[in-house]
């Protein structure tokens, strides 16, 4: 087939030169869509705006505040009937009334929203960005000019100082004589033969209800100060020094109690006389003394021939009394002698095994406060439960070899850095954010708040 020749002139001549003035479906569609689509968009905005302020939201709320998703003006307080994007601190303080961080010392205090950024999705608002902290702590300045803390802390990876308790010159303030090495030996003598103790036999988290595995807690005599001795060993620092919300959690180890952790094996050290099955109470010397007087008084009443009974040799502690012992002729002399022998055995031997005994104001000694810190991190928080997949010695690696009470067995920051990094989950590591351990607010000083909303006020528009 021969193709027909179409010259440019032929082609041009068949054109209608006014073609662009005629309507064309494509141009018509384009025109109408260009009108209709923007009108629909603006109409949608107007309709949404009329029903709620949510259309102006910059992002989804955090999980904790999601319930307020339809009631923007709970936080975006209306002032004179005008909705405001900026949330005032007063709106936050309606529910979270915590004091600011060192407000008396720092040169300025930021607003709540400066650190706790909302509308970023289901994040924990307490997980603030490090920059919130380093804006001050990268070069800390206080009103006095001399901050009591390290002046420059920029990150966890490189510029975080060693934990305060581990800095040079620091020692464990505890006064309880405890040899971790001896207690962790495989040949340790238990109540029914050798035992191999584990850290968790003594160091337990709150709410853990597991009985001691080697012997049931021994019934020790309890006296007037029973409640005190039951709650903790004498002098244990009960103040956790931090967030009261966490004291009942699994974060921290419970204080070691004589009754729960020690008595199973050490009750024999409070035995004072074979004539009694009962051991002396683990309590203040005055209480022990009163217990002994009561016991010997009862014994004398029940045994009229007690005056003529010989003193058992194991009750005499060499070097602590003049020998030979005088023969008692009256009930009072007998009582004084028996109580004196028991006092020496307990206060000069049994108690001293673990406690430091000090000279008292009267005839009785004083027990030095145990002063075991319940929390080593006074300005940071730690959650043992979150670290439960690790063995204790993975972090507390010096413990099995520690022989001295003064040894601080807290792991150093290097140990934490094995897993925690500033970049955190982005580099398959645990977070190294400041907020991971530090809390800006002192929640122990949290002021109670009163509810201000009804359910319809929060959920209107649902």
């Amino acid at each position: 087939m021969a193709r027909r020749v179409r010259t440019t002139k032929n082609l041009a001549q068949r054109m209608d030169l006014q073609y662009f003035k005629q309507p064309h479906p494509f141009r018509t569609w384009r025109l109408w869509l260009s009108i209709v689509v923007p009108v629909i968009a603006v109409g949608w905005f107007a309709a949404e705006r009329a029903s709620s302020q949510k259309i102006l939201s910059s992002g989804p709320l955090s999980t904790a505040h999601a319930v307020l998703g339809k009631k923007c003006d709970v936080c975006h307080v209306t002032t004179l009937g005008v909705f405001r994007a900026k949330v005032s601190d007063d709106a936050c303080l309606k529910c979270h009334d915590a004091p600011a961080h060192h407000s008396d010392k720092v040169t300025f205090t930021v607003s709540c929203g400066f650190c706790h950024v909302e509308h970023e999705g289901s994040l924990r608002l307490a997980n603030t960005d490090d920059a919130s902290c380093t804006q001050c702590h990268a070069d800390l300045r206080t009103r006095s000019g001399n901050p009591q803390y390290v002046r420059v802390v920029r990150d966890f990876d490189k510029e975080h100082p060693e934990f305060a308790a581990l800095r040079p010159g620091m020692r464990d303030p505890g006064e309880i004589k405890l040899n971790h090495y001896a207690h962790l030996r495989p040949t340790l003598a238990g109540p029914a033969g050798p035992v191999q103790m584990d850290c968790q036999d003594c160091h337990r988290l709150a709410l853990t209800d597991v009985s001691w595995p080697y012997a049931a807690p021994q019934p020790t005599s309890r006296s007037t100060s029973q409640s005190a001795s039951q709650s903790m060993s004498p002098g244990v620092t009960a103040d956790t020094g931090g967030d009261s919300k966490h004291t009942h959690s699994h974060d921290y180890m419970l204080p070691i109690l004589y009754v729960d952790q020690c008595a199973g094996c050490h009750v024999k050290d409070l035995q004072f006389d074979k004539r009694f099955d009962e051991a002396a109470p683990h309590d203040k010397p005055e209480v022990v003394q009163a217990f002994l007087i009561q016991k010997y008084s009862e014994y004398f009443e029940a045994h009229p021939g007690a005056l003529s009974e010989a003193v058992a040799p194991e009750r005499i502690l060499p070097g602590s009394m003049k020998l030979p012992l005088p023969v008692p002729h009256s009930r009072q002399e007998w009582m004084d002698q028996q109580v004196m022998l028991a006092d020496r055995l307990l206060f000069d031997k049994g108690c001293k095994l673990c406690h430091v005994m000090l000279a008292g104001n009267g005839p009785l000694p004083m027990v030095a406060k145990s002063s075991i810190p319940a929390r080593w991190f006074l300005h940071a928080e730690f959650d043992h439960d979150c670290h439960r997949l690790l063995t204790c010695t993975a972090c507390h690696d010096r413990t099995p070899e520690s022989r001295e009470t003064a040894d601080i067995l807290l792991p150093g920051i290097t140990s934490c850095r094995n897993c925690h990094e500033d970049s955190g989950p982005r580099h398959d590591a645990a977070s190294g954010r400041c907020s991971e351990c530090h809390s800006y607010h002192d929640w122990t000083k949290e002021r109670p708040t009163k509810g201000k909303f009804t359910i319809p006020q929060l959920r209107a528009g649902k």
Binding site: M1, A2, R3, R4, R6, L11, R14, M15, D16, Y19, F20, Q22, H24, F26, W29, R30, L33, S34, V36, V37, P38, I40, A41, V42, W44, F45, E48, K54, I55, L56, S57, S58, G59, P60, F83, R84, A85, K86, G113, F114, C115, V117, H119, E120, T128, D129, A131, S132, Q135
Partner: protein, 306 residues
Amino acid sequence: MRIDETHRKWFIGSLAALLVAAAIYVPYSRNTPQGANGGTAAGLTYGSIASALMLFAGLLGARKKVPIWRVGRAQAWMRGHLWLGFLSFPLILFHSGFHFGVGLTNALMWLFVVVLVSGIVGAILQHCMPRLTTQRIPLETIYEQIGSVRLQLVAEAEVVVEEASSALAGSVSQATEQQRAAAASAGTMGGLTVASGLQVDEGASAQLQEFFRREMQPYIAQGGANGKALADRNQSQAMFQQLRLLLPPTLHSAVDDLENICEEKRELDQQTQYHRILHAWLLVHIPASYALLLLGAVHAVMALRY
């Protein structure tokens, strides 16, 4: 518009601007406690620059409406529309801190994605399709003229058929000069013995007219294939070959003309398809762009007011 060497300066300029913006964004994002967002000074700056670029890109429509404006060449505007419009998207991401937000901001971001994607598709099509059209459609015409050209083709075909039919019906006076010249000779053409001179064949005339009326005219007069056999090049060739066998060689040139007209119609149909592909994205891009600019203005007012 083809994306060729003439775009190099725009490309390098846009890339440099993007790199500068990104270089500023990284430390800004890292050092902003609450993270990068539109409310900070830097965020507002990114948003303002991106809005200005979007507005400039949107002004291309106005520039086209008033071609006599002495505000730079249309091609420069087109290149600016392409590259600065493209640059505005990462700037908006820097503005928002790479968050899509909810509500109005979410709608704006998705509108922008629609505008960007449709724009990229359009740029690719505008780069590739014109060359393809030129290669495959030698007789390309103005798209809006296709309907008019189709009617002209129908008229041309009617004339050809009328002349051939007249010749077959014995009305030599109405035959073409070519047909009359052919009538003076005799011999063989294409392996077939042909008679000398025009021979009266009313049956063939009727068949030719029947073919034109039933097959060819409906096909040419309307756009698209409409299920007609002539829309298929192979079937069309077979049908016209049969027509040649039916008609004396002196009328084969008329058959060639008719076949050419059908071929031109097929090209017009193909041009229509190409045109739709080449311009359909505009039905998304332009309305979405207007909606984006309008809601963007609302967003700016709301953000600054509150």
